[in-house]
Symmetry: C2
Subunit: 344 residues, 2 copies
């Protein structure tokens, strides 16, 4: 399977992430990428493709224009306002507050985000665009006939909504890929999100649409980030009514319990009639992940890939989370190997 990747991810790496009242080295770090590349090479998955240039108009297919405009110039405005540290949002439009976009960069920073652990740096826009271009390029190969492709995205994307960033995500790469599959001919596309954390951004983007089915298996939001999205009752709205499915699972969930949800999700994707699939591939379901609480083992990820491969759908894998840095490579590549083993 083709692997799309780019060194531009290194342009994004904030100095700190808020954790226990302090700024610590972010869990979402560049070495994650290095370990995945090393594991891909070790497995002989060396059919590497550089991302093509991304038309920025494509971002507007899945994000609000005001949000894209904000992301594009945020760092410049920050510097012009006399600041040079990472852009960490501090004030958010929560319950009963007005939803006006402020004029000043401090206010806009909070307006377009939902979480304060994620910072914008001088390189975030460029890295995010490169990451989206990777997803788009992988999608193009799949739309052109490849049975599967792997987009080694960094920053990840599934927490980025229509008009907000957070959870290490800025541009929703999986949504870019899903939209691309539609634009290139598929009538119905499914996004399967197997990251430990609910793909609140992807859900948000497609919540009212019937042409993208979104299924997510994740830690119960009552206990796990992003807390305010990913409940079972969230099943889509308007034209998208019934096209969102959430499988929140309790902390400590074993592979056996987890895979039952996966099988159910794959059945529903089949019933929906998806012609192509995007997988939001996080491997933070791994037992030793430092910020998650499921119990998948390294060899389980082979089974995950096999099950997805057996669905027989043209598939774009987009890299999302996974913070057990040493093991992220093997766990990720095991999914891809499993897929190749199983696909018809």
């Amino acid at each position: 399977m083709k692997v799309v990747r780019s060194d531009d991810h290194r342009l994004h790496f904030p100095h700190g992430e808020l954790s226990d009242g302090e700024l610590v080295r972010p869990y979402e770090c560049p070495e994650r990428w290095d370990h995945v590349v090393a594991a891909l090479n070790a497995a002989g998955m060396t059919d590497v493709v550089e991302p093509e240039h991304l038309e920025l108009d494509l971002l507007l297919r899945v994000h609000d224009p005001a949000y894209v405009a904000f992301l594009r110039t945020a760092w410049t405005e920050w510097e012009e306002s006399g600041r040079h540290g990472d852009m960490i949002p501090t004030c958010f439009p929560t319950r009963r507050m007005a939803q006006h976009e402020p004029l000043e960069i401090d206010g806009r920073l909070g307006y377009f985000s939902f979480a304060a652990e994620t910072a914008i740096t001088d390189g975030t826009w460029k890295a995010s665009i490169a990451s989206a271009a990777i997803a788009k390029t992988a999608q193009k190969h799949v739309s052109a006939g490849e049975s599967a492709a792997f987009a080694l995205c960094r920053p990840p994307g599934h927490h980025a909504g229509l008009d907000y960033f957070g959870g290490y995500c800025f541009i929703n790469n999986a949504a870019i890929a899903a939209q691309g599959l539609l634009d290139d001919g598929a009538k119905r596309v499914a996004v399967l999100d197997i990251d430990f954390h609910h793909g609140n951004g992807t859900q948000d983007i497609f919540y009212n649409r019937s042409d993208v089915f979104f299924a997510s298996i994740h830690g119960d939001p009552l206990s796990e980030f992003p807390y305010f999205s990913g409940f079972k009752e969230e099943t889509g709205a308007g034209a998208g009514d019934g096209a969102t499915r959430n499988y929140p699972l309790l902390p400590g969930t074993t592979f056996q319990e987890w895979v039952a949800a996966l099988d159910q999700a794959l059945r529903e994707i089949d019933e929906y009639g998806a012609e192509a699939l995007v997988v939001s591939l996080g491997v933070d379901t791994f037992a030793d992940d430092p910020i998650s609480s499921f119990r998948l083992a390294t060899e389980d990820f082979l089974m995950v890939g096999r099950r997805i491969g057996r669905a027989g759908l043209p598939t774009v894998y987009c890299m999302e989370g996974g913070y057990a840095v040493e093991e992220i490579g093997t766990n990720t590549v095991n999914v891809l190997i499993g897929h190749e083993d199983a696909s018809p």
Copy 2:
């Protein structure tokens, strides 16, 4: 005029406040209190009263029970979860998100807040209760016949809403005082908020009520914290329709422009028929305030007090913001002196 104060404010002082991507010493610091006390003493305002014990049920008159329960046990739950650093919220229920209270302390921390510059520490609950007790005690003296009293509250309160903290505020002291004035016999009470920042919490608490008129003069939220509250169009709802008035003013506003808004607010309070007044007294309208942008001079604060005193209403002053630490005392006390000069 009686001055109510307590040393318990020292129990609350977080290690850091997010600013320009770093944790800096909080602007809202204990020395603020020391400077106000020194200026009160220098002015001979030494009729000091200790706060009385606060019945916790009183908090439920202006805050949501789930929020009070959260604040009360937050630090214990945080420590039980293995953390010992300041509690800085990181994930917020913003646009289109579910408004369920999470089970775990990390999620609840974000659910009950709107801003990440404000941390809960081991002493926050005790200091906040003491601050509310100060407001309540000052109110009792006024309800018992004093023409005015000064509640030297710290932490401040006007950003604390029905069920959220933020902007250095946890319990809304001004709301406690306003509710107390009603409970002790006043039929209609006004809260006049002259802090530089919009009193979003006080507005939130009384937005649907007709027995408390809320008027706030503040930096335009399109440019200034708290960004998502304090617009002119916000005038109350339901039974409270028309009982909220906002005077957002542009950065650089002079005393002359500012005082026109004050006169207008006082006229409206008079027309409303308030029988008693609570003043949310922030002096961050001062020209040299490090985080604000109005241009009031030290001597202007005498005029502010005179104008409020001329209204002739029984008045509880509650200390809110002011971050030009050296001058906060003189500026605050000038308002109180002005009030005493002018009151009938």
